[in-house]
Amino acid sequence: MVGVKLKASTLVEPLAAMTLLMVAFGIGMSIYLNILSSDHLERTSKANLYLQQFLEESKREGLFYDDEKVIGGYRLSRTIEPAGEYGDAYLINIEAEDIDGNFLHRVKEIVYVRTGPNETE
């Protein structure tokens, strides 16, 4: 290293460089974390799984009445309304909210529930 000379810098220069890096990193991370924290979709997609589970259960078990339950930190409420023109179809509307009451997602499906006389085998 005999022939190599490093030009010295003042104390101000590395300090300014470090500050700049910290500011750049801070701004970058704050933007990214802000986006992640404001993202409803992760909670929405998780809520969607519970909603689908609740919907399938309602159809399978024939639970065609208003109901509410809390699963995995989500409040799911089911409402049933008549749909169609002949009184044999119902709209199942299930909404998910978080514990603070913020609406997250909803699923809706019309089901046909008519059975004939002596239908059960």
Partner: protein, 415 residues
């Protein structure tokens, strides 16, 4: 001399951090967009199911094409329709293309729809009361509830062989009427007339699939040998004389209409075949659910001809087999189910039924006949099996009895 230039390197790293942050932000954005798209698509699939539920709720066999906003919020638009397809109906629902992803095709669900069945409508056996008892012999087995003539049921002897079972009927016995339940003759005639389209193409390139969302394709000729044709979908094959379905022919969900229809031994497929003179299903042929075989003796048929539907040995039919006449004749039409043949579903015969095989489901007939080399027996069953419990509870029959009285169900998903 190497300059330190700390500020320069710091700017370079800051730029890298900015780029990395931008990439992460972009990644999150696309992830969110994809997730939103998936949630929307899931709702569209639920909308399709909803649309089909509305079509099933409507008792009519056909519903004109319509646009419908399912939930009245202008973002759940569907196009729906239902139309007759032979003795079934086809119901379809289609979403509008997604404006956010116009490159994606519209979602679509198409189903073959029939009528659900039940125990009271479908006993194991309904034998019209012609004042003659039913006689059983050999290994004959009847499982399920039966409606029989007042003369009842007894042990019989055919070719010196008596009844070998412990019990004559494994189920309840009630009295039947002098006629079998009324068949929907007007509706069947209308259906036949509708299917006999005056125009049609003499040939179709093979293989060919005609979507049930498109218009009907008619293959028409005086006498058609389907050879190695591979056809499926909304296709009606009609001949003024006969149709020959070979072992190599591939048919799925198509309709065949002709005076004479011959299905070669070993054929496998799913179809609705409606003949007016003769219908023969060869040995070991397999007609998948939901298939229909119908012999409809109309005024157009020669009155003195013996019209018959013959299901040869080891053939298997899953669906409905029916025979009826629109005209009175001294030589009633007949259905023959040969030894080893199986029908899983419904068998309805306005004339004579010669049952040597097995029916897992329901048999409704005016009279049984049994031909042996030495004699012809009336209302005798020899080595035949009728078992109502053999029919799956999910079985969905075509629109045959009591139109509108029972809920419509999906018999098969087509698309």
């Amino acid at each position: 001399m190497l300059p330190a230039r700390a500020l320069f390197y710091a700017l370079l790293i800051a730029l890298l951090i900015a780029m990395l942050t931008a990439a992460l932000v972009a990644l999150t954005y696309f992830y969110q967009a994809e997730l939103e798209d998936n949630l929307r698509e899931e709702q569209q699939i639920r909308n399709l199911r909803s649309g089909l539920a509305l079509l099933l709720e409507d008792e009519a066999r056909s519903v004109a094409e319509q646009n419908r906003d399912l939930h009245g919020q202008n973002n759940d638009w569907l196009r729906l329709a239902k139309y007759p397809w032979g003795l079934f109906s086809v119901a379809w629902a289609e979403t509008r293309p997604n404006p956010l992803a116009p490159q994606r095709p519209a979602l679509r669900k198409i189903a073959l729809v029939g009528e659900s069945t039940n125990r009271s409508l479908l006993p194991a056996l309904y034998l019209a009361d012609r004042r003659s008892p039913l006689a059983l012999s050999g290994f004959t087995t009847i499982r399920g509830d039966v409606l029989l003539p007042q003369a009842g049921i007894k042990r019989g002897y055919v070719d010196g062989q008596g009844y070998l079972g412990d019990q004559l009927v494994y189920g309840s016995i009630q009295n039947s009427n002098s006629q079998i339940p009324e068949l929907p003759i007007d509706a069947l005639r209308q259906e036949l007339n509708r299917l006999q389209f005056p125009r049609g193409t003499p040939s179709i390139p093979s293989p060919h699939y005609q979507s049930f969302r498109d218009s009907t394709l008619y293959l028409r000729g005086p006498s058609l040998n389907l050879g190695q044709l591979d056809l499926s979908g909304r296709i009606v094959i009609q001949a003024t004389d006969s149709i020959y379905v070979g072992r190599e022919t591939r048919l799925e969900d198509v309709i065949l209409v002709a005076p004479t229809i011959l299905i070669e031994a070993g054929f496998e497929g799913s179809l609705q075949a409606l003949a007016t003179r003769k219908l023969v299903v060869g040995e070991a042929a397999f007609l998948r659910y939901p298939s229909v075989l119908g012999l409809i003796r109309s005024e157009a048929a020669l009155p003195n001809n013996i019209n018959f539907l013959d299901i040869q040995s080891n053939a298997e039919i899953r669906g409905l087999v029916f025979v009826y006449s629109e005209v009175y004749s001294r030589t009633p039409e007949r259905l023959v189910i040969q030894e080893g043949a199986i029908v899983k579903g419904q068998v309805v015969v306005g004339g004579n039924l010669e049952l040597r095989g097995t029916v897992l489901g329901n048999v409704t007939c005016s009279q049984f006949v049994l031909r042996t080399p030495s004699s012809v027996y009336s209302n005798h069953l020899h080595n035949a099996v009728i078992a109502r419990p053999g029919l799956e509870p999910y079985y969905c029959g075509p629109f045959f009895y009591n139109r509108g009285a029972f809920p419509q169900k999906v018999a098969k998903w087509l698309e």
